[in-house]
């Protein structure tokens, strides 16, 4: 299993243009990191490409913190490996 947490943290930091240290596990994307729904779509697409997974649209609203986002990526990675 790759270091999902750090890989996704760096991806998010690049999209929201913040230092990775600010993307803590529970920092709220929208309120604290200045994210908008289009950036969330970029994160979703970025994870799909990096991990060769497909994440359904309804999961977009789950992407609210790094912790939740890693959980979504892990869920679909596990489905792929099952």
């Amino acid at each position: 299993m790759p270091d999902l947490e750090n890989e996704i943290r760096n991806m998010i930091a690049e999209i929201v243009e913040k230092d990775p240290s600010q993307v803590t596990l529970d920092a709220k994307f929208f309120e604290e990191l200045g994210m908008d729904s289009m950036m969330a779509l970029e994160i979703m697409a970025g994870m799909e490409k990096k991990y060769k997974i497909t994440i359904p649209e309804e999961k977009l609203t789950k992407l609210t913190t790094l912790r939740e986002t890693v959980a979504v990526a892990r869920e679909y990675l596990e489905k792929n490996n099952a």
Partner: protein, 144 residues
């Protein structure tokens, strides 16, 4: 594959802001290849730049965005809706070669991730055998 009459039925953009002349290939939702012929009569050449006609890069992005709209709402899909409004959200683009009068701009667009009401696409522009620009665009759509 689509002529200018058909393009005009799909795109919400109208004269003088149509940045495509013809669609060569279209797989609805999957891929589009479209053309724009660049003439010295283009209005923007008057100021961009006097004595040195260069097509503005932002208009190449506009041509890519229009191709993306056609790819996503092909009449064959029954989704054509020229009342929908499209809002560009982000652009990641690298330009590698300038375009001038006489060039034929070829645009290729493929989806990266499309959801209801928004999308992220990969776009490439070329002229002859030269790559002109490549990158990604994201946009949202509000139905009219």
């Amino acid at each position: 594959m689509l002529n200018i009459e058909e393009i005009q039925k799909i795109l919400p953009q109208k004269f003088p802001f149509l940045m495509l002349d013809r669609v060569l290939e279209l797989e609805p939702g999957k891929k589009i290849i479209a053309l724009k012929n660049i003439s010295i009569n283009e209005g923007f050449f008057g100021g961009h730049f006097p004595g040195m006609p260069v097509m503005p890069g932002v208009l190449i992005i506009e041509a890519m965005a229009q191709a993306a709209i056609i790819m996503l709402c092909s009449p064959k899909e029954g989704l054509a809706d020229s009342k929908a409004a499209y809002y560009l959200a982000s652009v990641k683009m690298r330009f590698s070669h300038p375009l001038t009068a006489g060039d034929q701009l070829k645009i290729e667009v493929e989806p990266i991730k499309i959801i209801s009401g928004a999308g992220l696409v990969k776009a490439k522009a070329s002229a002859g055998d030269k790559e002109v620009a490549s990158g990604e665009l994201s946009f949202s759509r509000k139905n009219g």
